[in-house]
């Protein structure tokens, strides 16, 4: 990703849609800038879906490579980040289904409540990631796909090969739990959070 300082400045200042158009013409520096801008969001989403850090990074790389291959299909109707997130979410679901980790139709055991995070610990600030950890695998996956991955309920049902009603009920139960957990936290409690890759 070499180039003069002027080119680098121009790439850094360009809008995502312009960068995508330039990447579609084979300009790798433009695509590199898109990766720099959005990789953290994609990696974060994959972790929220339930991937461990190594898998999340592998799938995020695959998602960006797939995005580069299909970049001419990106028309700028939504944001580039949302588009790559959808690719990443689908890749994760494909991997998840291949590994057959959980049958979504079955009732999955819910994680134990962390000690000290009951009403007595209401003052303790918890973030979205901690709240997601309290959901069952299916609830976490469905909520993250729909709210983080930007998939509709029916798209999530298709991707997971699960009845629409099942996805809706997992989302509803997940939202109820998240509402309860996040009610304790301040609305801006996510700022300045660091995740170590």
């Amino acid at each position: 990703m070499g180039g003069s300082n002027t080119e680098k400045t121009a790439v850094a200042a360009a809008h995502d849609i312009e960068l995508a158009a330039r990447a579609a013409l084979g300009e790798r520096a433009a695509f590199g800038e898109l990766v720099r801008r959005h990789s953290s969001a994609v990696r974060g989403l994959l972790r929220r879906l339930g991937a461990d850090s190594a898998l999340a990074d592998d799938l995020a790389q695959d998602a960006f490579l797939a995005a580069f291959e299909q970049i001419s299909e990106f028309r700028g109707e939504g944001t580039f980040q949302a588009w790559v997130k959808r690719i990443a979410a689908r890749l994760y679901v494909r991997r998840w289904r291949r590994d057959k980790r959980t049958d979504l139709m079955a009732d999955t055991p819910e994680p134990e409540m962390e000690p000290g995070l009951d009403q007595a610990g209401a003052a303790q600030r918890i973030d979205l990631d901690a709240a997601l950890n309290t959901l069952s695998t299916a609830e976490r996956l469905c909520v993250s796909l729909c709210y983080g991955g930007g998939l509709s309920h029916s798209e999530a049902a298709d991707a997971l090969n699960t009845p629409l009603g099942t996805v809706k009920s997992h989302v509803k139960r997940g939202l109820d739990k998240l509402r309860e957990r996040l009610a304790w936290a301040e609305p801006d409690d996510q700022a300045g959070r660091h995740v170590h890759g």
Binding site: D57, L128, H194
Partner: protein, 126 residues
């Protein structure tokens, strides 16, 4: 209303990307993978082109194309020469020029092609 507010808040929370200290390294890894993919692709295309070219040359040589092309060239040269004699009057034969009528004809043809190309370029520019 509370439901909508909560969902909007959830959207905002999901939209907030966590900070990864190794983000630059991650971008570099993707660039390396893209570079590797391009190198493999270039080598594959080059290799297939080479194989195809060699196959084509082998086919041309084995079909006796070269001897036939030589014969056709000789015939067309003869025909061109005869036609030039017919169309160019004797007083325009430029007997003192250091080249023959064939060269003159070829030059005229090339000039005509160049003129057509220039015309096409001009039309494109307009």
């Amino acid at each position: 209303m509370a439901e909508l507010e909560f969902e909007a808040r959830l959207d905002r929370l999901f939209a907030q990307a966590p900070f990864f200290p190794d983000a630059a390294l991650f971008a570099l890894k993707i660039d390396h993978r893209l570079e590797r993919g391009w190198t493999v692709r270039r080598m594959l295309i080059g290799g297939l082109g080479l194989v195809g070219g060699l196959f084509g040359v082998a086919q041309v040589v084995s079909s006796g194309f070269l001897s036939r092309a030589e014969m056709l060239s000789a015939q067309s040269s003869k025909l061109l020469s005869q036609n030039l004699h017919r169309f160019i009057p004797l007083h325009l034969s430029f007997p003192d020029l250091p080249f023959g009528r064939e060269v003159l004809g070829m030059s005229a043809a090339l000039a005509a092609i160049a003129l057509v190309l220039a015309l096409m370029r001009a039309i494109e520019e307009i």
